[in-house]
Symmetry: C2
Subunit: 141 residues, 2 copies
DNA sequence: CTCACTGCAAAGAATTTGCACTGAA
DNA sequence: TTCAGTGCAAATTCTTTGCAGTGAG
């Protein structure tokens, strides 16, 4: 039994076919998926899957911290499986492949500097990097 | 003649009442505004202002770099006047007042670390901080 | 006087809600 | 068996487009 099924069960939710299909699509994806993309991919497993169910499932998975919503520069958003312990996304502008990386001392230092400079108390941060992944760099050069 | 009017003119665009009204609303605002909020505020200057024109004006102002779109944690976005030379927004979770701050060596260091760790080449970054501004901190304590 | 710009209406996305049916526990 | 979960249709919300009229330069 995968960990995410245990998390669902323990929180009092049921493990259903649509939820399995959505999770499998997200696990298989290396890129942040938009709801309609998730639906298309998940339908190979569960034909009748409705877009509404995708939205509801995503809301549930986010609530449980299994999935994160990432922003794109154009304002759209995609959904990405949460890598445990990691918080930030790095997205390839060329192929959309995304990986996550951990925040380290450098982010803490930055936050501390900004707090000192502004007088604000910083509680959350949203950091995403955009660039080119190794294989797209190789393809370009 | 304000600088933004010069920028418009030099780029071959016209300075019109609706554009003035939108800019004034943004200048007066200390918080990121959503399109409908901009419209409501700008209508004190220009009654007939349509939401469509707000969208078109914002697109133009973004193209000229006068305005930035900022993301909120809930996925909505607001528009904020660009502070010259600054790139990142710090938004109060309590009153929504926003200020911008400059990226410094700390961000460069972070990006360099991530590039080394991942092999990606980083070209853009999206950084926003959320917290409490000084006056909201004072009100809470 | 011209043509960029505007407002309206209407189309098109993206997301949410209402409700009767279905299937996981 | 029972109620959480689902799918459909339809409602909302957000944003863009088409087009005839208006006003900035």
């Amino acid at each position: 039994m995968p960990d995410w099924e245990r998390r669902l069960t323990e929180a009092g939710y049921r493990v259903t076919m649509p939820r399995r299909a959505v999770m499998e699509a997200l696990v298989a994806a290396e890129v942040p998926l938009q709801p309609h993309e998730i639906r298309e991919r998940a339908q190979t497993r569960h034909r009748r899957l409705g877009l509404v169910t995708v939205y509801r499932t995503l809301a549930l998975l986010m609530e449980l911290g299994l999935v994160r919503r990432v922003h794109r520069e154009d304002g759209c958003h995609g959904y990405l499986l949460t890598a445990p312990g990691h918080r930030h996304a790095l997205i390839c502008q060329c192929c959309a492949r995304a990986i996550e990386f951990a925040g380290g001392d450098d982010i803490s230092a930055l936050i501390q500097r900004v707090e000192t400079q502004t007088g604000y108390r910083v509680e959350e941060h949203l950091l995403q990097l955009f660039g080119q992944c190794p294989s797209c760099q190789a393809a370009t050069e």
